[in-house]
Symmetry: C2
């Protein structure tokens, strides 16, 4: 990857081209402040109802800085949403890191989604508000879901209809579950009950045998036992 030109550049300027292109710490700090302010403000209002003045005041930077980092307000909103999406993706990946069974991985995605909605309702609100359609490829739960469903189908663990509609079905359930948890803010026990019921219904619909679905639903209620 390091070619003659870059070596030359390294010698001359003491920085790799990658570093030369990467933002300075100061720049990173300003950007982070703006994103953090956006996360706060987007909880209560859609982006169009938020003046840039509010963002920069809360971020503690000058108005002009905003346009050093984002082309316009929409660009900014997209960056904030991407931030949350990446956070959720990371949590899903971590939760499923050592899990091989595709059905357990599918269930794990919903468990993480529910836990995120419960632990970070403000961030979850921003994610759900971001107009990224639930059905889209860029949905944070979608990344591995398609592969997991196909793997489970190969193993004969799901009913055949899941081949056509399984991904949509599961994303829809995770999405509506998050919306419900964020909107109603139930107690820890109530939330666990809703998740458990939703897992039982959802997995049964995919064709997972009742006892297995109920097992996974039960396990979801005591994450420590995982």
């Amino acid at each position: 990857m390091v070619n003659i030109l870059e070596i030359d550049y390294l010698v001359k300027y003491g920085r790799s081209m990658a570093n030369a292109n990467s933002p300075s710490p100061r720049s990173q700090r300003t950007r982070a402040s703006l994103i953090a302010a956006g996360l706060d403000l987007l909880v209560d209002r859609p982006i169009d109802a938020i003046p840039i003045d509010d963002v920069v005041v809360r971020a503690g930077v000058a108005k002009g800085s905003f346009f050093n980092h984002f082309a316009d307000k929409q660009d900014f909103a997209a960056a904030v949403a991407a931030e949350v999406r990446e956070e959720v993706e990371g949590r899903v990946a971590r939760a499923n890191a050592g899990v091989a069974d595709p059905v357990a991985r599918i269930a794990g995605g919903m468990v993480v989604a529910a836990a995120f909605a419960e632990a970070e309702p403000r961030l979850a609100t921003v994610l759900l508000r971001s107009q990224t359609p639930a059905t889209s490829q860029s949905h944070p739960l979608n990344r591995g879901l398609r592969a997991d469903i196909e793997a489970a189908l190969e193993l004969g663990l799901l009913r055949p209809e899941a081949r056509g509609a399984g991904v949509l079905y599961w994303l829809g359930l995770c999405h509506v579950l998050m919306v419900n948890l964020v909107d109603t803010r139930p107690s820890r026990e109530e939330a666990a009950q809703i998740l458990s019921d939703m897992l039982a219904l959802g997995l049964s619909g995919l064709g997972v045998p009742l006892h297995r679905a109920q097992d996974l639903a039960r396990i979801s209620r005591s994450p420590a036992s995982k």
Copy 2:
């Protein structure tokens, strides 16, 4: 309902009080034009991105008339969304008019939602864009759903977990199905296949026996047979 005062009023002015309060035909026409313009424009942009000028030009009325009918832009957007919601509610009610079996009624709601998304993708887009949360009581499919699910539970037709999460589960599936149909605009055959698969997965999840779920899914593909 007609009291002395109103009779007096009728004699005197030749109009019932209800009529006196109801808007004139001219007023209704103007309002309808504005709503129709809103339906057109809200397909492509959220309300905040639509200038009132655009609305009144398309409606062919003066700008001032807008504020004769709506308090502000948000009020207008709500009225437009309500319009679509009522349309969908009407279709669901009509489709389920003669159907007594609660499971068939539940399935019917999804069939209507899918048909609406397919036949009126523009209106469906407005409905799905309206920030009314899918989980809310005011969801057009929600009206009778809760009652149907409870009835089915009483008859022992659904698994017990549906008592806690059944409404949420079904609304989520209908919602994501509509989003998918509107976004991807599949062919008539593909749409029928997705609906059929989703019905099979969804009903199985509720605890409907496989053969019954597949029956209802099959029937959904030839509405004429209803």
